[in-house]
């Protein structure tokens, strides 16, 4: 019953999506205004129907309606209610419905918000949204139907993969999807601008906040994924350069490039083609990511099962690429005659370099991700590309990026004079150099980490110095103190100071990555009760094993007493969970964080006879916690950028 109702909502929404595609086109030909309002209502109608369809599926999951195949495969009677709800995105079919739902929410907000504005662009924005929506609804309705029924109705369901039973399941996928889908807004506006031939800065100005918002969700989604991996998967890492991780990360790179290069276009009317290409690439990569995840052509722990969906996504991806780049080529005449770069030492050139670095990073990661496919198709040789490739290629690129992060926001537009450079960078550079020397004297002797930490310090110093100068000016002009001054500055120029805060967040994240990549140590041992293991400044003593029956699994927990520099830090309890449906246990690692380092314990085995031995893997990972702190700093910075707290000023920067 729920199934057929849900499926009919999807079918109706699909029809409305077709209306949303056709009506504005008819309206553009006939000049009939009613067509546009019909299309707008088609969007709102889809929103209502998709919301109802998603609710129907959630209702089926909550009430464990096992006549629906999707419910039977992803819940059991024992599944707690919140994991029944997250079952909506626990597998392929439901996750596509969630994607469509988020998409139509974005489309609805856009259509409602710009009812009176952008009269020329809006019909085409609605067409683009409707095309994407029709695609996803078509897939959900005909190829990958979450409302498919099963008969006979099984007595109990199979349940989610136990690894997915984690609190992060509630946040990581929706955040990431929101980031992916959010990129549709600037993409739709860009395409509309191309269709109409209005290639001034209007589409960029109106989608700026949307792009920052999408970027923010992408960042958050990836970070929460890293946190999940670190916290739950029990291997002590947060990033494995797994194909699907790459798929989630790749759109972030052109999106980040786009956020920077649109500022060059706003300010200097340059890089028009580049910006359009970036947003096309970013949007296409979200579809490509879905293709990678859903087609099963690459192996990955994140991969959903295979099916016809992969091929369908590939067709749609080609359509998007051909259509959008075709439009770009069609409008090439309108895009000519842009101002040129005045000097290599200028903000636009720093931003351009930042873009080149980001796109290079994208290219290398893309190549590494699909190389196994190319190799097998071309040479018939089966290979895989390991994490060392990605690390060795991206580390130098990201170091360049950190340097540009220090220079870009501060350096003058057009042409930076020697005086300008001296005024802005002399002190910060001297400070950063001093920090670098201190680090070297202290204990950082390897070249790359030393360079990395010094560059990070350089970024912080430029930001602090620039803000300090601005604060001094506020004090002189208005007699404001530090706090009031900061508030005024942030309100006067949200993007600049919000951007600074985001950059500080990125600095912290890179600090965490650099620290844990460079100085991690690990050790493995089998310990008998009261035996000890020493690693770094830690001493770990095995206290014993306990077993307990949990609602969904049997849990074997080991107790380890941790001493740091001789003083006791407490007891950590890594565990192994035995699920009845799984042949092998699932590890539950534990870690204890401090600002300087994490100690991370993984129980990898125990003696079943006597239960007096445990095999333990211990990792000491420095500075990891700063990654998560950096994430919160980014939240703050993004809020400063997008919240309507602004105060109009006569000039920017």
């Amino acid at each position: 019953m729920t199934a057929s109702i849900g499926h009919s909502f999807v079918l109706l929404a699909f029809l409305l999506a077709l209306v949303g595609i056709i009506a504005p086109i008819v309206g553009a030909r006939s000049g009939d205004n009613r067509c546009l309002s019909l299309a707008r209502w088609a969007i709102f109608g889809q929103f209502v129907l998709v919301t109802l369809a998603a609710s129907a599926l959630v209702y089926g999951l909550i009430t464990t309606d096992f006549s629906i195949k999707y419910v039977a495969f992803n819940t059991t009677r024992a599944t707690p209610i919140y994991y029944r709800v997250t079952g909506l995105w626990g597998a392929l079919e439901g996750s596509l419905l969630l994607w469509e739902w988020i998409l139509i929410i974005f489309a609805g907000i856009t259509a409602a918000l710009y009812r009176e504005r952008h009269k020329e662009l809006m019909p085409w924005v609605i067409v683009i949204f409707s095309i994407v929506s029709a695609f996803f609804l078509g897939v959900v309705a005909f190829a990958s139907n979450p409302f498919e029924t099963i008969s006979p109705v099984p007595p109990d369901g199979r349940g989610l993969n136990p690894l997915l039973e984690d609190a992060n399941m509630m946040t990581h996928p929706p955040l990431l999807y929101t980031g992916f889908v959010g990129l549709t807004v600037p993409f739709a506006f860009a395409m509309a601008a191309l269709v109409v031939g209005r290639l001034d800065e209007a589409w960029i100005l109106s989608t700026r906040r949307w792009t920052i918002t999408a970027w923010f969700f992408l960042t958050a989604g990836n970070l929460v994924g890293a946190w999940w991996s670190y916290h739950v998967l029990g291997w002590g890492g947060y990033w494995a350069w797994d194909p699907v991780e790459n798929a989630a990360f790749m759109p972030w790179l052109p999106a980040t490039a786009f956020l920077h290069s649109i500022q060059v276009q706003e300010r200097r009317r340059m890089l028009k083609v580049w910006n359009l290409s970036l947003i096309i690439i970013a949007f296409s990569l979200t579809i490509f990511g879905t293709f990678l995840t859903r087609s099963g052509i690459l192996s990955s722990i994140h991969a959903f099962s295979s099916g016809p969906v992969g091929a369908i996504f590939l067709v749609f991806l080609s359509f998007v690429l051909l259509g959008s780049f075709g439009l770009l080529a069609y409008r090439a005449d309108l895009l000519k005659g842009q101002p040129e770069l005045d000097s290599m030492v200028s903000r636009e050139s720093a931003f351009l370099l930042n873009n080149i670095v980001l796109v290079s990073a994208l290219f290398t990661i893309f190549l590494g991700t699909i190389f196994p496919l190319i190799s097998e198709a071309v040479a018939g040789v089966q290979v895989s590309v390991g994490a060392p490739y990605f690390n060795s290629v991206t580390v130098p690129l990201f170091l360049c990026l950190v340097f540009l992060m220090a220079v870009g926001p501060i350096i003058a537009w057009r042409r930076a004079s020697w005086d300008n450079l001296k005024r802005n960078f002399l002190w910060p550079a001297a400070m950063a150099l001093a920090i670098g020397i201190i680090l070297f004297v202290w204990k950082v002797r390897d070249f790359l980490p030393l360079l990395g930490f010094t560059l990070l310090a350089f970024v912080v110093c430029t930001i602090v110095y620039d803000t300090a100068l601005a604060l001094r000016a506020r004090k002189r002009i208005a007699g404001e103190g530090i706090v009031r001054g900061l508030i005024t500055l942030a309100r006067r120029n949200q993007r600049r100071y919000g951007g600074f805060v985001v950059h500080l967040g990125i600095v912290l994240i890179i600090l965490g990555i650099a620290g844990s990549m460079t100085y991690s140590i690990e050790k493995e041992a089998t310990l008998a009760v009261k035996q000890e293991l020493t690693i770094g400044n830690y001493r770990i003593q095995f206290e014993g094993l306990t077993g307990s029956q949990q609602s969904t699994h049997f849990r074997v927990e080991a107790a380890f007493r941790v001493f740091h520099n001789g003083s006791e830090e407490g007891v950590l309890n890594p565990a192994l969970k035995f699920f009845p449906a799984q042949q092998s246990p699932i590890g539950r690692a534990v870690h204890q964080s401090s600002l300087s380092e994490d100690i991370y314990l993984i129980l990898s085995g125990f003696s079943e006879v006597g239960r007096n031995q445990a095999t333990l893997k211990v990792l000491v990972r420095p500075l990891v916690i700063w990654m998560w702190i950096g994430g919160f700093v980014i939240v703050l910075g993004t809020l400063i950028c997008i919240l309507p707290i602004g105060k109009p000023t006569p000039q920017e920067d």
Partner: protein
């Protein structure tokens, strides 16, 4: 003209640097997938290539020393077997008679010195008629189709 030439030169330098990095990175990190019979057929085997070998852990071949955390076992693809040595903690799913993928180099003694063991989820795994098929099911990109 000079301006566009400058951009061209800049572009070429960037591309060259990038290609160099990609080439260097790939040299280090590319892992070839082989089966035990392919390795046997190629003897003597070079010891500098980083390999990934998949197969079933031969029943009765596993010798583990929990004190030193060393594991010796043989992998088979049905037609040939190859000895493997591993020091460390294997994944939860690693056991005799089950599929495993090992990563590492061939040692001078002709034993595969594994640095990593990857095991396959048993419930997702259906054995093929011949061991060769089972081994191939671990090849990247083929995993899902082996269900």
């Amino acid at each position: 003209m000079t301006r566009s030439r400058r951009f061209l030169i800049g572009g070429v330098i960037i591309l060259a640097a990038l290609s160099y990095m990609i080439y260097g990175g790939m040299q280090e990190a590319i892992v070839y997938f082989v089966t035990p019979s392919e390795l046997k057929a190629k003897e003597p085997i070079s010891t500098d290539k980083f390999l990934r070998m998949g197969g079933m852990v031969v029943k009765g071949s596993l010798q583990k020393d929990l004190k030193d955390l060393t594991y010796r076992f043989e992998l088979t693809d049905g037609s040939a077997t190859f000895p493997v040595f591993f020091k460390g903690v294997p994944p939860d799913l690693f056991t005799e008679g089950k599929g495993a993928v090992v990563e590492g180099r061939i040692g001078n003694d002709g034993v595969f010195q594994a640095t990593t063991i990857m095991a396959k989820h048993a419930e997702e795994y259906s054995p093929h008629a011949d061991g060769k098929g089972a081994a191939k099911s671990f090849i990247p990109g083929k995993e899902n189709s082996a269900k």
